[in-house]
Symmetry: C2
Subunit: 226 residues, 2 copies
């Protein structure tokens, strides 16, 4: 029992901080999305393709999490937008405290889209609210169709599933229809996009998804100020 | 500080149980291996190919872990060897208690090779000793070469790395040499095998690796009894 109680307390502390972050984002009209997937599903490559397509005037910033290395921040920094690496030093997920700490010297007024790339892990990140507007889960075509059933929590909590690496479909036994059906068994209302970071297929739909959500975040911010 | 102390205590409790399991395996001459990887790297498919190649007289048993579903146990049971699913119900790793509990109604005298397939997660399983002789980490060619640097703990603790999905090398930007170099930066003595579960390439070397390790486990058992 004591183990469960401690975990609950830690999560509650995280939840309080996450709500404070959410409120700050809402006041500033910032859209914050939290990208979660298994290691190697293509989160960083999707972000590279996303930043590449963004107008240099876009007020986008990225926090990217890993247990070790600054590799991802280096990959993403070359697009000219503010990027910071969160090195967790072994911790299997990002938490709201880490996000808050790494936001400290950024002026939130200069940000309208904050993309958080979580540690590559389909399990633990699903338990930690980062104050985001939406969790987004990536599943790649090389991973097997039953992942939504095996890791239901993250698929249940994500508003959007992005099926990545669809260019590899001719070479793998993956059945997209089965994967989507499994995802909707866990989360019937989940939106689903299919993307190839290699060929660019599906990237327009992804950019439109973000733009649509940003519009909503700004409308919410106007209501707050009114 | 209190969070760290609790974690230490939980790990110690696990360690005691793991050592008890290790001693039981040693007395019986059982080789126990603990397969760890990201979700979708091919652990279950490798086990299917492994069991398929085994003589029906082989005293092999499998424990396979997942957060939810009995899918993997069903896939593996059709080869006629004893298989049990450990459903963790959300927990991100297997621990020694789960292994002990699921072994309870098996006669260990009838087992000479126990394969434990951990939850698909490159982070948390590395912290939990299951009493195994060797941890084995799988990395697939679709995941990126820098994973050993980003998730160093599991690559440091594994005796063997199996590079899977090498049949996909023509279609992905993955450089095997770089991945192997990164793995050896973290763990210079690590053995490395390259395998395709689809074409069968490398499976002989893997079966030989197991056979060699089983021989050693039996020799150790003889020393214990003498």
């Amino acid at each position: 029992m004591s183990r469960v109680e401690v975990e609950t307390k830690v999560l509650n502390e995280n939840q309080i901080l996450a709500e404070q972050l959410r409120e700050r984002y809402r006041q500033q009209g910032i859209l914050c999305v939290n990208l979660i997937s298994a290691p190697g599903s293509g989160k960083t490559l999707l972000l590279e393709k996303t930043l590449e397509r963004m107008d240099q005037g876009t007020r986008v910033a990225v926090l990217t999490g890993d247990l070790q290395t600054e590799n991802d921040a280096q990959r993403l920094a070359r697009f000219g937008f503010p990027v910071k690496q969160i090195v967790t030093g072994g911790t299997c997920h990002l938490d709201a405290r880490m996000v808050e700490k790494h936001l400290a010297d950024w002026n939130l007024e200069n940000i309208e889209l904050l993309i958080v790339e979580n540690v590559g892990n389909l399990v633990c990140p699903s338990s930690y609210d980062l104050g985001e507007d939406a969790k987004i889960v990536l599943l790649s075509t090389t991973e097997g169709e039953d992942k939504p059933l095996k890791y239901p929590s993250i698929f249940f909590k994500s508003e959007l599933m992005i099926l990545t690496k669809i260019d590899l479909l001719p070479y793998v036994p993956f059945k997209s229809d089965v994967a989507k059906e499994n995802a909707r068994r866990v989360h019937p209302q989940m939106e689903i996009l299919e993307v190839s970071n290699t060929t660019g297929e599906g990237l327009d739909a992804w950019m439109n998804w973000i733009t649509g959500r940003q519009r909503k975040a700004k409308e919410k911010a106007k209501l707050v100020r009114a």
